[in-house]
Symmetry: C2
Subunit: 186 residues, 2 copies
DNA sequence: TAATTTATACAGTTCAAACTGTACAAATTA
DNA sequence: TAATTTGTACAGTTTGAACTGTATAAATTA
């Protein structure tokens, strides 16, 4: 199939310009996913190429050092938006962009939401018994504040319970029963 | 009601320690929302206080400069997780944390998702006609690559259409029909 | 075995963001 | 009016993140 080098040919000039419009837009919005512009640009570049890419190709395409590409590629790998692939006879590492946005959506947000739940629930479970004890204090002031805190914690837990359900529904695909994927053309 | 100063009294020592466990956890996970740890810590502090807070109180509570608090409070205001409130006879600006996590969830993600849609769809609408034209090129190679790009763009648009529906459903509260909020105790 | 290729660890540089203190403008009080 | 209070603009400092080039480890080839 198409080798990366060919895209540098002059006849792809217009196509590359059109692609760059979108690559820049994608790179710009990737901050929502905790990625830098550079990292976003690499992903978008790989997304359009559609083929596995080596670190050297990436360095050439973005005009950056191979060391940078090694780090950036690892970031994308950790975020699960690219895969490391293997090809017979190719000694270099190959990375390929995940092209299914529904999948990357699920990976990204579920991972983040789950981390949020875990970290915060862990802290709540540590703090709650202490506050519960204080809510039985003899000091009326302390009691009042502790009870108000307990209510806040209950609300937080209620929210995380809901978030858990949301994550499950996104990961299982149940969400698409409620909010269906638009049909493909034809 | 409870004035901030009182919380510095020794009898609230245990309570403050318990709160700090959660404040630190919340501050740590706020990076998911594009906020720094400091910004997250301020929000969490205000969340627990439950009362409107002045810049001076914030500076005292976090041991940071008033200038920092002014900037950080503005950030929280822009992210819509705190409100500027007014109290009779109080000359200072007052900020109060939004305590409804469901609301902040909706604000945060819908805002982000909408920005992503807008920026990317704008770029797609600019690039697509160019690529469409190239897909009718005489050069078979160019044609092939252009057509592959068009398919990618269609998939992207399909995804953004879905995201739009998701945003609508979160903003309208329709989502809670499918994934209900857990019931409050009692 | 030695020679070559590839990825990455590491050290150094550059740049941007976070924070501070000062100075000032706007509003309030006297 | 002048004196005081409050929030923020601005300039300077510090810190950390992104990136580069070099050196090295690991793997492959000869």
């Amino acid at each position: 199939m198409l080798q990366y080098k060919e895209l540098e040919s002059d006849k792809y000039k217009d196509l590359n310009e059109a692609r760059d419009l979108i690559i820049n837009a994608m790179a710009e919005t990737m901050d929502l996913y905790g990625l830098t512009t550079s990292t976003g640009r690499l992903y978008a570049t790989m997304f359009f190429l559609g083929e596995p890419m080596t670190l050297d190709q990436m360095a050439g395409a973005l005009g950056m050092s191979k060391t940078s590409m090694s780090n950036t590629a690892r970031t994308l790998l950790e975020k699960k938006v690219v895969d490391k692939v293997w090809q017979k006879g190719v000694r270099k590492d190959l990375y390929q962009a995940e092209e299914d946005f529904f999948k990357t959506f699920a990976e990204f947000f579920c991972h983040g939401w789950r981390r949020e739940m875990e970290v915060n629930l862990k802290a709540i479970n540590k703090a709650e018994p202490i506050i519960k004890e204080l809510s039985e204090s003899d000091d009326e002031e302390v009691k009042k504040v502790a009870n108000s805190d307990l209510e806040k914690l209950d609300n937080a837990k209620r929210y995380y319970l809901w978030l858990e359900r949301l994550v499950e529904s996104v990961e299982s695909g149940e969400i698409y029963k409620y909010i269906p994927k638009p049909k493909r053309k034809e």
